[in-house]
């Protein structure tokens, strides 16, 4: 979420697409209701293939075909740019004024850039000057100033000419002796035919109301209606346009917020769907505003936390990618969000080893490497090591760097090993202890150019030591979750630890998953229940363990919610019976692995580091010394003093501040402290910097409170200060919101007292025109980060040079702007042939192994056109025999793969069995009555007979109970041609039933590897009528 659940109160329009918050995020509806039924009378607009319970409450509902989200949004954009613009003069005038920066509020007045020599300058376009940090060298800055630097978006940036533009136009300008190269050329107005806005308009021109309605299966008037809703609820039509934000609670404060969930992401075009949201909201000025933004409704209380932790195969904590297999330290650190580390005036890559000047994400990685692969000395006073005989060439009276950090006990000799002349401080040389430098005194005994040998104590790693620790970092990516099960099936992966997950229900195309799990030599499942995964069919010699984990209420730690708030969850009690907290299990794992020699490569490397060697036991140095648990003993015996103590839900003190906490409360806080400390103090997770800060004086500003108010906790996840309810501030001192407690992301310092935002793309504006396929990182901004380009472009119809009138080339600038593509399996093959499917990877979007069969019914097309996809070979090749689009859904009573809720009698009573939602038209054609049990068949599997034998239970796979629509088509849950089934069920627990994921296709989004759960083809047969069961 760019905003927060609590900020929903401030919206004047909710655009819910691909989400069903009424059932899947019920707590959010209190906020939605507050805005809808309050003075604001906010609107609720729902776009979804299914008339969900959310849609039943909506002011406007539009039904679309599964997988046509981009077409719909592009259609809305086109409507806004054309008819909407023409019909709403106020909106049009303000739209132009905002994008043209024609008002002082809409251009940037303090962006920092870096000149070619590496010096920083704060660019001040408003006055046509720049200032260095030293406040010298004022002067005109040339062309940029006259246009005003855009504050929000690149809509006025000019795009380089040519058939396939890869970048903006760039220019160089000179101010005095300072040269700034690679600046994007900014057009005077968005009327410029070369600018990004013009390109975007060109791109969406194709998506007229009629074209869009044909793709989406809605009415042309629906596009207009949604477009008008957006126009009526955006920055351009809000009472605070061109004024400083007053209060978002004002009745005529307008902001539309987008709420989305899996209905948007679980497509082969998932990432592009969200990019289209970003473009729409940025165009309308809804980003960075209270009540606006793009809000991903996370499915679990700590999904945001798990992604913060980088538990994906291609990420490390803090959303950094894995270092490449050959990446040097500097190669990896430079493009992280922070400061440019090369080229650099002080000599290139050396800069990357200076912790004091590394920026946020860079410094976090530095701290992570030093604390995860060695004790982190910097920032841990009292821990240091002695460096013997560092050779330094003294020249003139130039300061020479000993370490990029504090040095002490310096001893200088002319020869190694304390031989030759013993020089004297002050007389022969001077030491700057804090800066870690030594300087020759011209009048002393050291001659100019002499090599001296320096022995000193330091808390700071040298560049060579950093390189040795970095060498321990695993390089490259592992397997994604789709590939993993195929590797198991092929025998390349022989053991798996499944921790708090239930892939035997949740992964698509279960045929492969089950075969993969069965083939493993070793399967370890860590869970609170015997899940489908733990009880799956295994090969005769396979070994399976189920380790009893504690439930989440039995262990302490931080959780990060959808809105990025980090909050501390205390444990309600110690774990039941022999179950253990996840932290204890993990640390015991680590200890056992260390004992078995798995960490010998680490201790071997340390042995080469001489006096800097952290130790001889990897477990002791990396875990026990840092987190307090020895890996074998009584976990509950671990204690620490907790600065904030523990309070119960009603604020009563359970353990006083400063008192001892034990078990997971203690270990979790040890880890949290390491991650959340200020970066300068060694915090290892840049995203959470200052979430644990002993300096509690970071105050709520006097501008709000009348007097400054301090934090009341050191561990800010434990902060429970609930003032400023429902304002733009979003409870600024409740928990801690990354990044640096920012409550509304991208707010451009317009939200009073919320921190100013520079968390944007390399060009310090929202970058809509991404570059495909290569990322060109241009070295001109002071703070910048590499951004990742999306990997996918449509397989067909893309051509930026052909006019719209060429009916075979619908996509202009595809890959730069989102373009409609069809799902891999689609009933509209005519559209698939025109728009293509979404992949740069071709057929590889459906992973293959030796058993795979891909089939096309159109030999003239490439093999991945019109595929039906299967691993089993028992399928019908007639595409027409799979007439329905299968889309998966969730219900309020069950949770994810179901181990918790299907073992809870209350939930099982409410929804005992899985069902299928089907339109009355289709039901009549198939001869299905309400309550019948039906079998669903896809090319991959069926939902009854093929499932028996894959588990230790029988009789559970009865298919799905039909819920046939009643009444008018518009009031039915699904449209003709679409069937919806919930996917929470499996073969274990109190409530069992057929799995949707036996049927689903494992094609996926090329960027995120999220499977296309929301669209594949199927057919239906009746199994039994309800009465016979």
């Amino acid at each position: 979420m760019t905003n927060h659940w609590a900020d929903l109160d401030n919206a004047s329009m909710f655009f819910v697409m691909g989400a069903n918050p009424v059932e899947n995020h019920p707590a959010s509806m209190a906020h939605v209701n507050a805005a809808r039924y309050g003075a604001k009378k906010a609107r609720l607009v729902v776009v979804d293939p299914r008339k969900t319970r959310t849609a039943m409450q909506a002011d406007l509902y539009v039904r679309i075909r599964p997988g046509t989200n981009i077409a719909f949004i592009n259609g809305v954009l086109n409507y806004i740019f054309t008819e909407g613009y023409t019909n709403n003069p106020t909106f049009a005038a303000n739209f132009d004024m905002w994008h043209n920066s024609a008002h002082a509020n809409f251009y940037s007045n303090g962006r920092a850039f870096r000149d070619d020599a590496g010096s920083n300058a704060a660019l001040v376009p408003a006055t046509g000057t720049y200032a260095t940090s030293g406040a010298t060298g004022f002067g005109p800055i040339g062309a940029v100033a006259s246009r005003g630097w855009p504050k929000y978006t690149d809509s006025r940036f000019k795009v380089a000419a040519g058939a396939a533009p890869v970048d903006y136009q760039r220019e160089t300008f000179t101010v005095g002796t300072r040269v700034f190269s690679n600046f994007p050329v900014v057009a005077d107005t968005i009327g410029d035919p070369d600018c990004v806005m013009a390109k975007l308009k060109k791109h969406v021109e194709w998506y007229t109301k009629e074209v869009t309605a044909d793709i989406c299966g809605c009415a042309p008037s629906d596009i207009a209606a949604v477009g008008e809703e957006f126009i009526a609820n955006c920055r351009m039509t809000s009472s605070d346009f061109s004024a400083a934000l007053s209060t978002p609670q004002a009745v005529d404060y307008k902001a539309a917020t987008i709420m989305y969930a899996m209905g948007i992401t679980q497509h082969t075009s998932g990432s592009q769907n969200i990019r289209d949201f970003a473009i729409l909201q940025t165009m309308l000025g809804n980003m960075g505003r209270p009540g606006g933004g793009i809000n991903a409704l996370r499915g679990i209380h700590n999904v945001q936390g798990s992604t913060d932790m980088g538990v994906l195969f291609d990420l490390i904590p803090g959303y950094s990618g894995n270092p490449g297999t050959t990446a040097t330290w500097n190669d990896y650190v430079n493009p992280l969000f922070g400061n440019r580390t090369h080229p650099d005036a002080t000599g290139g890559a050396v800069f990357a080893y200076k912790p004091g000047v590394l920026g946020l994400q860079q410094r976090g990685f530095y701290n992570m490497v030093t604390s995860w692969f060695g004790p982190q000395w910097n920032g841990r006073p009292g821990v240091g090591h002695t460096v013997t005989d560092q050779a330094v060439t003294m020249s003139n009276t130039t300061a020479k760097q000993l370490r990029y950090g504090t040095v002490s006990a310096v001893d200088v000799w002319s020869g190694a090993g304390g031989t030759g002349t013993h020089f004297t401080a002050t007389t022969d040389y001077t030491i700057d202890a804090a800066a870690g430098t030594i300087t020759r005194v011209a009048t002393g005994g050291i001659t100019d150019g002499q090599v001296v040998y320096v022995t000193f104590t330091t808390t700071q790693w040298s560049a060579a030591e950093i390189d040795k620790l970095y060498a321990l970092w695993p390089k490259g990516n592992g397997n994604d979750h789709i590939t993993t099960f195929r590797e198991m099936k092929l025998g390349n992966t022989k053991a798996a630890v499944v921790w708090g997950q239930n892939p035997a229900v949740t992964e698509p195309n279960q045929s492969v998953v089950r075969d993969g799990l069965e083939a493993l030599d070793l399967l370890v499942v860590v869970d609170i229940f015997a899940t489908e995964t733990a009880m799956c069919k295994r090969q005769a010699n396979g070994v399976t363990y189920l380790l009893p984990a504690a439930a989440h209420v039995e262990e302490a730690g931080s959780v990060t919610n959808s809105g990025r708030w980090i909050q501390w969850r205390q444990r309600a009690r110690v774990p039941h019976g022999n179950s253990k907290a996840d932290l204890e299990l993990l640390l015991r794992f680590a200890k056992a692995l260390d004992t078995a020699g798995a960490f010998s490569h680490i201790t071997d490397q340390w042995a080469t580091m001489g006096t800097a060697s952290p130790g001889t036991s990897a477990y002791d140095v990396l875990y026990k010394d840092q987190y307090g648990y020895d890996g074998t003993g009584n976990f509950e015996a671990v204690t620490r003093a907790s600065a904030d103590g523990i309070k119960d839900a009603f604020g009563n003190v359970v353990i006083a501040a400063g008192g001892n906490v034990t078990g997971s409360e203690a270990v979790a806080e040890n880890i949290f402290q390491q991650m959340g400390q200020p970066l300068a103090s060694g915090g290892s997770l840049w995203l959470w910097t200052e979430a644990y800060n002993t300096a509690t004086a970071s105050a709520r500003p006097a501008s709000i409170e009348g007097a400054a108010v301090d934090w009341t906790t050191v561990n800010r996840a434990k902060s429970r200060d609930n003032v400023h309810k429902g304002e733009a501030l979003n409870y600024p001192r409740w928990g801690y919101s990354w990044l640096v407690n920012r409550r509304v992301l991208y707010n451009n310092s317009e939200v009073p007292s919320d921190e100013a935002d520079t968390f944007v793309a390399p060009d310090v504006v929202a970058r809509l025109f991404t570059v495909h396929p290569a990322s060109t990182l241009v070295n001109y901004a002071f703070t910048y980060r590499a951004y990742n380009t999306l990997k996918d472009v449509p397989t067909k119809g893309a051509d930026a040079t052909v006019a719209k009138t060429d009916a075979t080339k619908p996509h202009k600038y595809a890959g730069r702007f989102p373009a409609h593509t069809e799902p891999i399996e689609t009933p509209r093959r005519d559209l698939a042939h025109l728009y293509g499917r979404n992949t740069a990877l071709g057929a590889a979007l459906v992973k293959t192994d030796t058993n795979v069969a891909l089939w096309s019914n159109d030999a003239s097309e490439a093999s991945y056109n019109d595929p039906l996809y299967t691993d089993t070979g028992t399928w019908n090749k007639d595409a027409a025999s799979y007439p329905y689009v299968l889309t998966t859904i969730r219900c309020v009573e069950h949770f994810q793969g179901g181990p918790i809720t299907r073992n809870n009698s209350w939930n099982v009573e409410a929804e005992p069995v899985p069902w299928i939602e089907i339109n009355s038209v289709d039901a009549r054609r198939e001869g299905i009555k309400d309550g019948d049990w039906v079998n669903i068949i896809t090319p991959r599997s069926n939902s009854t007979t093929l499932q028996e034998g894959r588990t230790n239970k029988t009789g559970w796979a009865k298919g799905f109970k039909a819920r046939v629509g009643v009444g008018l088509q518009a009031n039915q849950r699904v449209a003709p041609g679409v069937v919806a089934i919930p996917w929470h069920w499996g073969d274990q627990g109190l409530g069992t039933g057929s799995r949707a994921n036996d049927l689903c296709i494992d094609s996926f989004d090329a960027n995120t590897i999220i499977p296309e759960y929301k669209a594949c083809l199927c057919r239906i047969t009746t199994v039994l009528s309800d009465e016979t069961l």
């Binding site: 009424v22 059932e23 019920p26 707590a27 509806m29 209190a30 209701n33 507050a34 039924y37 008339k51 319970r53 959310t54 039943m56 409450q57 009603f650 309020v892 009573e893 809870n904 009698s905 209350w906 939930n907 099982v908 009573e909 409410a910 005992p912 069995v913 819920r963 046939v964 629509g965 009643v966 009444g967 009031n971 039915q972 849950r973 109190l990 409530g991 069992t992």
Partner: protein, 294 residues
């Protein structure tokens, strides 16, 4: 004097998340009925005292909560020979499980109670006789129903408070209504904030003014439970929420026969006209009752 308390449901906000149902079960230690036990039925039973039912078929809004109405003059309390059912001055009608005993024989008359509370309920039968909870003390059949969580507020039945724990604190304390310090579990839980707990007088005043701005179009209720909506509700909350469960199978079996098919259209036409006439008559009565022109 104590306020008379009541629960009010905003039917426009209810989304049938079943949070109130599960909260009720959790509070009163009732287990769910799982397929292994018998066929689940989603009814008001001795171990399910509140249910949410859609007013239209196939699970679409508006959703109405059904539980004991806490009648102003409850027939169940009048007829119980053991005086186990009490209409409290503060509104709730509750059954004292220590006094209720369906098997008990009256020494004077030689009769049992005859389970009159179930059959005499004017609202469709909310007191249900059966096991009350997973608490061993209440496995023997007794009459159970919603108590508005009254025992848990600590004011009345100390026996219940001891068994079922203390009341949940309030999320919203209403000025002049000290009883709102403790909310019923269903109201406390409701994530959509679709339920309120207030004095009956305040609720009626709110309904009469239409939330203060006349936005309420339809409202209904009595005793301790009220409903309202900003839309015209096609079907007002039924006394028996399960009428369609009985009627629908009957209708479909009728429809499947040859005679029914022939008779369907005339029957529907006649029935529709009758329903229309009845509706007109009722609306007229209401207008008269409201002081309008007849």
């Amino acid at each position: 004097m104590a306020n008379v308390m009541a629960i009010v449901q905003d039917a426009d906000k209810c989304m049938r998340c079943n949070g109130c149902v599960i909260s009720c079960k959790r509070t009163w230690k009732m287990k769910g009925i799982v397929p292994a036990d018998n066929k689940p039925n989603q009814k008001v039973t001795s171990n399910q005292r509140v249910v949410i039912k859609p007013q239209r078929r196939v699970d679409t809004a508006p959703f109405i909560r059904y539980s004991c109405w806490h009648c102003p003059d409850p027939p169940c309390a009048r007829r119980c020979p053991w005086k186990a059912i009490v209409k409290d001055a503060a509104g709730p009608v509750y059954i004292d499980p220590d006094l209720c005993d369906p098997a008990k024989i009256d020494p004077a008359t030689g009769l049992t109670c005859g389970r009159v509370c179930q059959t005499d309920c004017g609202r469709g039968g909310y007191p249900k006789i059966g096991a009350g909870s997973s608490d061993p003390a209440y496995l023997a059949p007794k009459a159970w129903k919603c108590t508005m969580c009254y025992g848990r507020a600590g004011a009345v039945t100390p026996a219940l408070t001891a068994k079922y724990g203390f009341a949940l604190p309030s999320k919203e304390i209403i000025a002049g209504v000290p009883e709102t310090e403790h909310q019923p579990a269903c109201v406390y839980t409701c994530p959509a904030k679709a339920m309120g707990y207030d004095s009956q007088a305040n609720i009626i005043s709110m309904l009469n003014t239409g939330l203060g701005n006349g936005s309420i179009v339809s409202a209904v209720g009595d005793g301790g439970v009220f409903w309202f909506s900003r839309k015209y509700m096609l079907i007002s909350p039924k006394a028996d929420p399960f009428v369609e469960d009985h009627v629908s199978p009957m209708v479909s079996s009728l429809l499947s026969g040859p005679f029914a098919k022939a008779a369907l259209v005339p029957t529907l036409v006649a029935g529709g006209l009758l329903a229309l006439a009845a509706r007109r008559a009722r609306i007229q009565e209401e207008e008269i009752a409201a002081g309008g022109e007849a």
